[in-house]
Amino acid sequence: MKATLVDVPVPTLLPLRRRWHSTTFRLMAVYTVIFSVSVTLLMGFISWAVTGAMEHETDVVMDWQLIYFDSMPHGDLIDAIYGRIEHEHMHTNYYGLFAADGRHLAGDMLMLPPNLPVNRTGVTLDTLAVAGPERAPVVRVMAEQRRDGEKLVLARDLTHVLRVRQRIVNALILGGILCMVTGIAGGLALSMRQMRRLKGIRHATQLIAQGDLGQRLPAGGRDEIDMLVHLVNHMLEEVERLMNEVKGACDGIAHDLRTPLAHMHTLLGHIAERTGELPDQELSTLVQRARIETNALLDRFRAMLRISEIGTLQRRGGFAALQLETLIHEVGELYEPLAESRSIRLMVQTQHVGTIRADRDLLFEALGNLLDNALKFTPSGGLVRIELNATPSGPRVDVIDNGPGIPQADRDAVLQRFYRSERTQHVAGSGLGLSIVSTVMRVHDFTIRLHDAAPGTRATIECWPRILA
């Protein structure tokens, strides 16, 4: 048996891992990250642009005001400042006149902000000491040194600008979140839909791999996947047609040949009866030999048709919950006298395992064939064991003999139809026992492998479905 197995994933990790493996989901996640980053950048840019523009505007206004104050003689300046303060409606401007040493001379700005350049450039300050009940506002400040050394400082409240900025930012954040939520929900929904489709496809594929060639992949939607589905379905149709042709031919041959063979067998029986009355001993022996050969041929045809039957059964109807332990003890009991008659010790060891779903008759037949085979090839005085072990993946049945063993090169071949090792030509049998076993296993989706038991052979049946996807 080729190693067609894939490790069974740890069940608890499965859903997340599976979700992550969905292409749509992955794309969506990556897209969400890109989207978040770009939205953040956009917000940064907008707030920078808005604030910058506002600040520039403020600077222009203050510059003009300074020019206006410049034109005033020193004496009028203080009055002008106070006049301004009183007349200003909205009270968005603050004024301060400071002596060269920083002393406060006039205005509602109480202190000269430290490190303030006095070259008419706008600076944003987080706080400003002002007279009145208001708390310290955030301001844009511009200062100049007058000809007499005094410093005139203008400040303009930026609170409203900031409020606008805050609103914009808030709106963007909210909008971004909404966008993201919608994006994620949409992506999830899309990936769910996609995953449902893939699940359907996987299910159908598994059934096909189990031999149900009548299955087709579910089509729907008009995307690349659907195109592939149609292609695969077309291919399956072709495969099924060819398989049926070949199978039909094989079965037809087996069936058509069997009837005349059966007739021949009957006729030979009649001849044998007649020749029994004749004194010709040699003729009787020849007829007898011809009967035996015909019988062997019939046996082979029977086994061949049986394999064909089992293979095409798909009779999951025969499947039911089954206690492997009981079944194995039954098989052991059936073959124990045969082992004893050949002076072979037959050991049956079982561990407790749960029930499995299987076809009782087929499994019994398969295990019987395995035991029969083991007994056939084990020399007198040998030991044949049938063991049932509970493994993490499921129950495992081993049939172990200490006969001559099967060479590595033959192990795959013996499970195929009609193979007989060169060295076993003398042993009776249709040569189809192991083929029946492997067919039964295929129907169950169980795995059978042959190993070297040094000396002898170990046939291992893994009673759990092969994982295909």
């Binding site: 069936h255 069997r258 009837t259 063979l261 059966a262 007739h263 067998h265 009957t266 006729l267 029986g269 019939l298 029977r302 048709l305 049986r306 039957e309 059964l313 009779r315 109807g317 025969g318 039954e330 009991e333 059936l334 073959y335 006298p337 045969l338 004893e340 008659s341 008759d361 019994f364 037949e365 019987g368 029969d372 056939k376 009776a428 049998g429």
Partner: protein
Amino acid sequence: MRPSRVLAIEDDEITGNEIVRALQSRGYSVDWVDNGQEGMVRAISGEYDLITLDRMLPRVDGLTILTTVRSIGIRTPVLMLSSLGDVDERVRGLRAGGDDYLTKPFDPEEMSARLEALLRRNQSPAAPTQTTLCVGPIELDLISRKVQRDGQEIELLPTEYRVLEFMMRHAGQTVTRTMLFEAVWGYHFDPGTNLIDVHMGRLRKKIDPSGVKPLIETVRGAGYILA
């Protein structure tokens, strides 16, 4: 006693001849029809003790005949003969009212043995109240599952007990290996080799002490008989 009348419905000529030959040699009177239509008419007449019925027939299908015959209340035992051997076909045949099912090509001995078993069953239905089976010196208690020969208790394994019980219920009849395998183990495939023989060998060793005429005899080419 008049000979049992058997109706053979079989379209294949050689198989039909074979059935007639095998049954006549055992003293049955056989009527052979080779198509479903005539078979149906004869089967409905209810004049027969047993019917062998081919599954696939020209004109009227075997299953149809069986279903019809059963639906009008004719209880004649029917042995189905079919080249469709799989378990589903067997189940279908038995559900439709067949009493036994034999896959073609069959051994004439096998067919006769099964036929005989069906006839006997019909003629002498076992008394349901019966709690012991007695054949010659052997006594088998169906309740305590104890077996005695000439009053001496014999220890039997469960399988051996079931084989013996089956043999005793069919005392005087030829019992084939496949019949035993189906009845005792409940499986329907060819166990091959001499699997049943070794079981029988064990049982014989226990119930037939050496020196006396054995109770269970081998019928060459057919099976066993408990005399």
